[in-house]
Symmetry: C2
């Protein structure tokens, strides 16, 4: 397998964790999101990813985009260890956490959106940081209320083994801290994300451990 | 089952189509996103949906948030007709289309984001429309390039039976037209979405057919 990735991309980070948990080796193909106008926008890469976003997974003849679609694919083709365990309702709980990060928080704060706010909307840094904080803080606040009251939460989002939920949460918390969000305001999230980040599969997927880390 | 919905919500629209395709009857609980400061933000509803967003599905004791998590749950509990047919790679193709809408287009243009741009960032209508167009058009453009070249596309996104991809595409096209985006620039999308919208399950899920339609 081959993964097109950028060390700091939250979405690529999710997939790197999944590949590590499944014990799958892969070639790392770096795509620099800022250099040279953004390598993700070059025709060669857009032939693989029409959106011009990372990650993209190549598995034999299959070209797979969208981090959550990639992880569901890995789950179907390499079921153990399960990233979506439990009953259908449990999996809905796990997927809802993942989607809360992937649909409500991350899309509003990724590189291209922040670039647009700077270059087109002409937001200054204070207004851009307020935008960032608005969506991360309301998103993490809602997630904290979901997690703090659910008996399925253990040392991780669902019991004590990593699931799709943790794969999305850890990169989001990493990203939030990079933008100086005070994650200690969300004690369940902080506890879970900080514990997950100590696990080997998460450690090896961390941005600083990637070949293209700066 | 009971579905908390708003007639114009794209995310609720996706789930309404899924319920219709699966032949599941449900009680419709309207949540007005604009009236009275937004009924979705009231404590009663936030006890069900910490984010304060629609839709939420109630199935017996289970409270399920996030439209794609709800649809995956319905797929697992009521497998026929399949909304995720084919091989793992086919399902990844279908999910990637759905996620391209749900993660790259819709989050940037939903009600609360447009409200924030108006009230906090003080964008005028022209700048807000430029923002809307920026993300819808680049998203639909990428999606068009994905669909136009893939032999799996038929009368619908994947062959000739509706899948999760169509469930996300039709509401997004509806929404784009409401904001005067010229969808004819994306001929595959327009052909697929317009055909899908003629199917009974889609017709009955349309915003104008809901009890809270205005």
């Amino acid at each position: 397998m081959k993964l097109y990735s950028y060390f700091r991309s939250s979405a690529a980070y999710r997939v790197r964790i999944a590949l590590n948990i499944k014990g799958l080796s892969y070639d790392y193909a770096p795509i620099h999101l800022l250099r040279d106008g953004g390598e993700q926008l070059k025709p060669d890469y857009r032939a693989l990813s029409p959106d011009g976003i990372v990650p993209t997974l190549i598995d034999g003849d299959h070209v797979i985009n969208q981090s959550l679609a990639i992880i569901e694919y890995l789950e179907e083709t390499h079921p153990e260890p399960a990233l979506l365990p439990g009953t259908p309702a449990d999996r809905a709980f796990i997927r809802a956490i993942a989607l809360q990060v992937a649909c409500e928080i991350h899309p509003l704060n990724n590189t291209r959106v922040l670039q647009y706010l700077t270059t087109e909307v002409k937001l200054d840094d204070a207004a851009k940081n307020a935008w960032y904080a608005r969506w991360v803080e309301s998103g993490l606040d809602a997630l904290e209320r979901r997690l703090e009251r659910d008996p399925r939460v253990g040392t991780l989002c669902f019991g004590d083994s990593p699931t799709l939920a943790d794969l999305c949460l850890v990169p989001q918390v990493f990203n939030a801290r990079r933008f100086n969000v005070d994650v200690s305001r969300y004690p369940t999230i902080e506890r879970v994300a900080d514990y997950a980040a100590t696990l080997d599969a998460f450690l090896r997927a961390a941005p600083a451990q990637q070949p293209d880390a700066e």
